[in-house]
Point group: C2
Chain length 392, copies 2
C-alpha cells in the first residue's frame, strides 16, 4: 500500500497553533490581564431567532413518523435551492435552482471540487491568500503559480496574459486583505479565463458584507462568467453558521470543457462521495432567506461592520495604513514602522494585550502586514481601540 | 483546463432511478394499488426522544451569546469522541478518543479516505457490493480486482494469497447480502493484510444489527487489526440518522506506511478539506450513546429486526432460498426458478405490488438475486408477507 506522497510536501500549518501557544504563554504569565482576540475569523453573535425557530420546528418534524425525513437529495432540498435562487435574483443575478449545490460549507467544496479536474492543470493563486487553496493543490501535485497581491495593486492582482493558467482562484471580498474587485476588474478576469480556456473558482464567502450596490456580490453579475466560473458561497459569516455548517456552490449548466458539462461531473462527485446536509440544517438555512431572516442576519452583519468602522476610524486617526474593513470583516493593516508581522504580533500582545493574525501566515506578500477581524463584541472592540490609542 | 477524464469511465448508475421509473409507471397504470416498498435501504422510524431533546437543547444554546458555538474542532468535539470510545469499550474494544474522527457519514469518509492513498494501488473489492467502493476508485484510476462473493462461500469471500492487493474493502454485516464475517474469518483477512502490507477499509455501518456476542462488531476485536485497518461507522441505520448525517471513522495510531502514520495524513486531510459536523448534530449524536439513547435506538433496531424475522420466517415457509436478515436489515433472496434479477423485480411488482432491489445492480454475482430491506412499517411488512404467500 502506498500513501499519497504529496501530503509529505505540505508545510505544517503552524499559524493558528503558534498564535494559540503564544497567547497561552502570555496569559499564564499575566493571569490578570484581559486579552482581546481579534485574530481568528470566527463569528460571535448567536444564531438569529428565525434560524433557531426553524431548527426547533424541523427537530419536531424529525421526531414524528409522519414528517420524519430519511435520505434527502445529495444536491440539497429544492425548498432551499429555490430560496437561494431567489436571493440571487435580489442582486440581479439569474442562477437556476438546479445549478445550486447545497453543501456543508465553502471549505469542503473548495477542496472537493478539485476532484473533477486533472492533476495536470496549472493553478493560479493570489499571494497572500486563504491557505486552503494552496494546500489542496499540493495534495494533488498540481503546478502552482502565484500572483502578487501588494500595495501597488491594492491587493487586487489583475490578469497577466503572459501567464497560462488553467484554474484561477479569486476571493472577493478577500480573506485576508478585505479588498473587493470592481465589476470592471472582474470583467477582465472573465475575459482572461475565456481567452485561456481556464476556469475561475470564485470564493464569495464574504459577499454579504458588500454594502455598495455597484460592487459585484456574485461573479455571475459579469457577462460571460457562466461559461468560465464556479462560485462558492457560505452561510458561515453571513448568518453565523461557522458551527452550524452550510454553504452552497453554483456550477452553471453553460460551463463546459469540450462537450463535458462540469455540472454533470460535480453532480456525480457529490452523489458518490456525499450524502447531503442534515434536513434540519437545510430548514435553518432556508429561514435565513425569508424576509424575517434577512432582516435579522443583516442586523448581525451591521453589528460587525460597525465594529470594523470603529476600528478603521481609530486606525485612520492614528495615521496607520490599512485596507479593507468596509465591505469585509477583515482589516489588513501595515505593521508599525518596519516591523515584521510576527514582531508586530508580539508588540500588540505585550503592549496592548490584543491578538491579531500575522500577515506572513497568508503568504510572502503578507510579510509586514497584520489581519484584524471585526468579529467580536462591541465592548471588546472599544477597549481594543482605547488600548491602540494609548500605545501611540 | 482539463477535467478528470476518469469520471467519463464511470457507468451511469441507473439502478435506483430505473426502479423509481418503473414504479412510477406501474402506479400511473394502477392508481388504486398500494405498492409496498422494500427496495431502498432507508430508515422510517423517527429520531428517538433522547436525540430530539438534545437537538432542542443544543439549538437553544446556539441562540444565546454565552453558549453559542462557532468553529469546532474538525475531528469532532471531545464530548462526542469520548462517548464513542466508551461505546467501543462496551464491545470489548479499545479505541482512544483521539483515534476517532467524527464525520457527516460513512459515505463521505469512504470516498474521501482515498485522497491519502496513491493512485498506484491495487484495490480488492467484493462482488456484489455497495457501488460507492467501485466508483470512487474509478474516479482515481486505480486498478480494481474483484473477489467473488457467491453461494459457494456464503457471500463471504476469503483471502487468496495469489492476489496482491493494497487496499481491501470489507463490509460486515454486508450491504447488500446481509452476510456477517466471524472472528476467525476476519482474523484471516487481518493476517493477509499484514502479510501483504495492505490496508483494510472496514465498513461497519450495520454493526448495531449484530445480535450474537460471538460475531465481531468491530474489526479491532481482531488482534493485529490496528496495524492494518481503518473502520467506518455510521449512525444512519443505527439511530435513524440518514437525514441527520453523522458517522465516525477510526484511524488507529499504530497504522503506518513506513514511518508515516496514516492518522496524521487523515487529520491533515480533514483539517484542510472539512470543517466538522454541526455542533447541534454532534450533541444529538452524543445523546445516542447515553443509557437512555441506547435503550431507545435498540427499540428501533429491534423493530426492524422483527420485520426481518417475519420476512425470513415467511420465506422459509415458502421454501425460498436466502441469506441475511438475522444480523442485518437486508435479506438476500435467490430469485424464483431461473429468473434474472430484473425479471423477478417485474414479477414481484406486477403480481404482488412489492418493490425490491435487483441484485444485479450490485455486481455480476448479484445476478439471480434480489435484496429486500427490513426497514419500513410493520403493517407494510405484514401485508407484503400476505401477498408473497398468495403468490405461491
Amino acid at each position: 500500500m502506498k500513501i499519497n506522497e504529496n501530503y509529505l510536501k505540505l508545510e505544517q500549518s503552524y499559524l493558528f497553533s503558534t498564535i494559540a501557544k503564544k497567547v497561552a504563554e502570555f496569559t499564564k504569565q499575566n493571569p490578570d490581564v484581559r486579552v482581546i482576540r481579534l485574530g481568528i475569523g470566527d463569528v460571535t453573535r448567536p444564531l438569529c431567532p428565525a434560524v433557531t425557530k426553524a431548527l426547533h420546528e424541523a427537530t419536531d418534524e424529525m421526531g414524528i413518523k409522519e414528517t420524519f425525513k430519511g435520505y434527502g437529495p445529495e444536491q440539497g432540498y429544492a425548498f432551499l435551492r429555490q430560496t437561494i435562487s431567489e436571493y440571487y435574483k435580489g442582486h440581479h443575478t439569474e442562477v437556476s435552482e438546479d445549478e445550486i449545490f447545497v453543501s456543508d460549507g465553502a471549505k469542503s467544496d473548495l477542496g472537493n471540487i478539485l476532484d473533477i479536474f486533472d492533476a495536470d492543470n496549472t493553478v493560479l493563486i493570489p499571494d497572500p491568500v486563504y491557505p486552503v487553496y494552496v494546500d489542496t493543490n499540493i495534495m494533488a501535485n498540481r503546478t502552482i503559480c502565484y500572483m502578487e497581491a501588494n500595495k501597488d495593486n491594492n491587493f487586487l492582482p489583475m490578469p497577466d496574459y503572459a501567464v497560462d493558467a488553467d484554474i484561477i482562484y479569486l476571493c472577493s471580498p478577500n480573506n485576508p486583505t478585505g479588498a473587493v474587485y470592481s465589476k470592471d476588474q472582474l470583467k477582465e478576469w472573465v475575459d482572461y479565463a475565456l481567452a485561456k480556456n481556464a476556469i475561475i473558482l470564485f470564493d464569495a464567502a464574504y459577499e454579504a458584507f458588500i454594502g455598495d450596490e455597484t460592487l459585484p456580490r456574485s461573479i455571475y453579475q459579469i457577462e460571460g462568467a457562466k461559461k468560465c466560473a464556479i462560485e462558492f458561497c457560505s452561510l458561515s459569516k453571513t448568518a453565523g453558521f461557522t458551527g452550524t455548517r452550510c454553504g452552497y456552490t453554483v456550477v452553471p449548466f453553460e460551463l463546459k470543457c469540450g462537450d463535458v458539462a462540469l455540472h454533470s461531473l460535480w453532480l456525480r462527485r457529490q452523489t458518490t462521495k456525499f450524502n447531503g446536509v442534515p434536513y434540519i440544517i437545510q430548514k435553518a438555512a432556508a429561514a435565513i432567506f425569508t424576509p424575517e431572516g434577512q432582516q435579522q442576519i443583516k442586523e448581525n452583519i451591521e453589528y460587525y461592520k460597525q465594529n470594523a468602522a470603529l476600528l478603521t476610524e481609530a486606525l485612520t486617526e492614528l495615521g496607520m495604513s490599512f485596507i479593507g474593513g468596509e465591505h469585509s470583516p477583515y482589516i489588513w493593516l501595515m505593521c508599525k514602522s518596519g516591523m515584521t508581522s510576527w514582531e508586530y504580533f508580539e508588540y500588540l500582545l505585550q503592549e496592548a494585550h490584543i491578538v491579531g493574525t500575522p500577515g506572513s501566515g497568508f503568504g510572502k506578500n503578507g510579510e509586514g502586514y497584520f489581519r484584524l477581524t471585526a468579529f467580536g463584541e462591541r465592548e471588546d472592540v472599544e477597549e481594543a481601540i482605547k488600548r491602540l490609542k494609548a500605545l501611540k
